[in-house]
């Protein structure tokens, strides 16, 4: 089969790979109809995630058709068109039984601190991902769900991660009516978080980024107030100023490990790999939220230490909430929001690349060229 493979930092190509096989009785093999590249994939692409082996196929956002099922699979059948959450999870461990699917303990030998994720390095379990023609889907009775007839394919693929994660990030903020919410990052996750904050009753939603074309989308699609941090000497002072010096009630970090805004932090993290992530947006969140406020972190960070301003978080009495998203738990409610038109995931899709052009797709998304916000990857006849 044709599959995207990682060849080293900043390098990917398409290769012919042996097709995946059923390795466990509850496995399924899914033929990918549509996949997407996530901001998280960029951390892998840039060589930031430990134990990313050359030859790994990335891709944790995908939908497709079930091609084969293992002997114990009961809930999906060959031919079903399914959307697959980015989490690989068992459904029965201590964590899964409590709804913490992202924290499953039965799917990742390589690390206990993180669960299983498709195509996300061996640190996340060593599974191949969906930027390929076929993919192995473990626990087919637990993760995949049939795509509702009325749902658009592009909406479905965005619900497997980006939009679910943004919505989850807003929930972690425990927003109450009238809260001032500031979202750092106007990527797919940040845009979805900003839209979701309104659904939870925010009184003001502010989005911060340095890419003007993304801030324009935040105004248009998320009805947000926006600030370009590259135009301001000190974004924390700016945010204090526009919130009557109280600060926001809730701050959401939808940027993660490769944040810009401090060359020192960015270079030591993203280029030299001396810290797990560049916590610029996280530190801005800590410093710009009000005392007693909540910081929600859905931006991803690597497993080694990062230079986080913890003292300020302590002194301000902040609540810090964070996790990977438990995708399928969000779906029933998100399906309603999409059906009602409150969320329109496909609006953020800007590019559609054939699988064969995967190297261009990664470069365009990574270097933020051509107004790119969310690139999709379409396998199939070249």
């Amino acid at each position: 089969m044709r599959a995207m493979v990682y060849r080293g930092p900043y390098r990917v190509r398409v290769e012919e790979k042996p097709p995946p096989r059923i390795e466990h009785p509850n496995d399924a093999i899914v033929r990918v109809e549509l996949a997407a590249i996530c901001g998280s994939d960029l951390h892998l692409y840039h060589g930031l995630m430990p134990d990313t082996r050359v030859g790994t196929t990335f891709g944790h956002e995908f939908i497709g058709v079930v091609e084969q099922v293992g002997p114990s699979v009961e809930r999906v059948q060959v031919g079903d068109r399914v959307m697959v959450p980015f989490n690989v999870y068992c459904g029965s461990c201590y964590y899964c039984a409590r709804g913490l699917y992202a924290n499953c303990h039965n799917v990742n030998p390589n690390a206990t601190a993180v669960g299983g994720i498709y195509g996300y390095s061996h640190t996340c379990g060593g599974y191949d991902g969906g930027q390929a023609e076929l993919v192995r889907v473990p626990f087919a009775d637990v993760g995949p769900a049939p795509i509702p007839d009325w749902m658009d394919a592009e909406d479905a693929v965005l619900l497997t991660d980006a939009v679910a994660t943004g919505y989850f990030g807003a929930q972690l903020g425990d927003i109450v009516e009238g809260d001032v919410v500031v979202v750092f990052g106007a990527g797919p996750v940040g845009l979805a978080a900003a839209q979701s904050a309104w659904l939870m009753g925010a009184g003001r939603v502010i989005v911060v980024d340095h890419l003007e074309y993304r801030l324009a989308k935040a105004r248009e699609l998320a009805h947000a107030e926006t600030y370009n941090f590259a135009e301001h000497r000190d974004v924390v002072v700016l945010l204090k100023r526009v919130t009557d010096h109280l600060g926001a009630d809730v701050a959401i970090d939808a940027v993660g490990a490769e944040a810009d805004g401090s060359l020192l932090q960015h270079v030591t993290a993203a280029k030299l790999k001396l810290q797990g992530g560049s916590p610029v947006a996280l530190n801005w969140a800590i410093d710009s939220v009000r005392k007693g406020g909540t910081v929600s972190v859905v931006g991803a960070y690597g497993p080694i230490f990062s230079a986080v301003k913890f003292g300020d978080a302590v002194n301000k009495g902040l609540t810090l909430r964070m996790n990977q998203c438990h995708v399928k738990r969000q779906w029933p409610r998100l399906f309603e929001h999409v059906r009602n038109g409150y969320l329109r995931p496909r609006d953020i899709v800007t590019h559609r690349f054939p699988l064969e052009d995967i190297a261009e797709a990664y470069h365009v998304f990574s270097a933020k060229l051509d107004g790119c916000i969310k690139p999709l990857v379409v396998p199939g006849p070249a």
Binding site: R7, G8, P9, E15, E23, H24, N26, D51, V54, G55, R75, G91, S92, C96, R98, G99, L100, Y101, N106, V107, P109, A111, T112, G126, Y127, P138, D141, V142, Q171, D174, W198, G201, G203, L211, E212, H223, A230, H245, L246, L263, H266, V267, K271, K273, R290, P303, I304, R329, Q330, P332, R333, L334, H337, G341, E360, V364, A367, K368, L369, D370
Partner: protein, 192 residues
Amino acid sequence: MPYTSDKPPLPETPEQLRVRIPGWGVDLDPADRPAVPRERFDPGATGAHWEFPERQPEERPRERSIEHGTLPPVFGTTLPLRGVSGVVRRYAYRRFSEARAAHWLLLMAGDRIDVVESRVLAAVRGRPDDPVAETGVRSEVSHHGWSSRAGAGRADVVHQPMDPVIVAGPWVLGGLAAVVVARRLARRARRR
């Protein structure tokens, strides 16, 4: 102002927001939020029809974190450890827990070795790496590299020029090392 007791007024009332923003407040009640409360004990809700999953066969010894009490029943089987990178990675897993920086730094070292090993292997197997095609730099032309950056005031253009160094750096260093080694060998041969 935090200097007095009142919360600063909002620019819009809930009624105005409800008109301007479709769906404003539909999830105002935490009971409608699927991630609330954080933990909800409901093992029947996931579709799992087992108490503990059947174990996937361990066809090769599978490396694992020493913080695990047992090998988890399901795991990825792609790209088993091999070569020098495999030795380094296996040592990182065997010796150090996830709590130790050494664990992650060794894995990162393994990653860099893996890149070199894989490049050699790919060349030997007749499918050599093509740095131009694999970096996708051609899209700088097809997708407006210049106009996407020029005059946009982007914060990342300062460090983007470092990317080619990261891509080419190992090649340059490797090349230099090869030259040094070749010279030494030549000198030694001459002395003999």
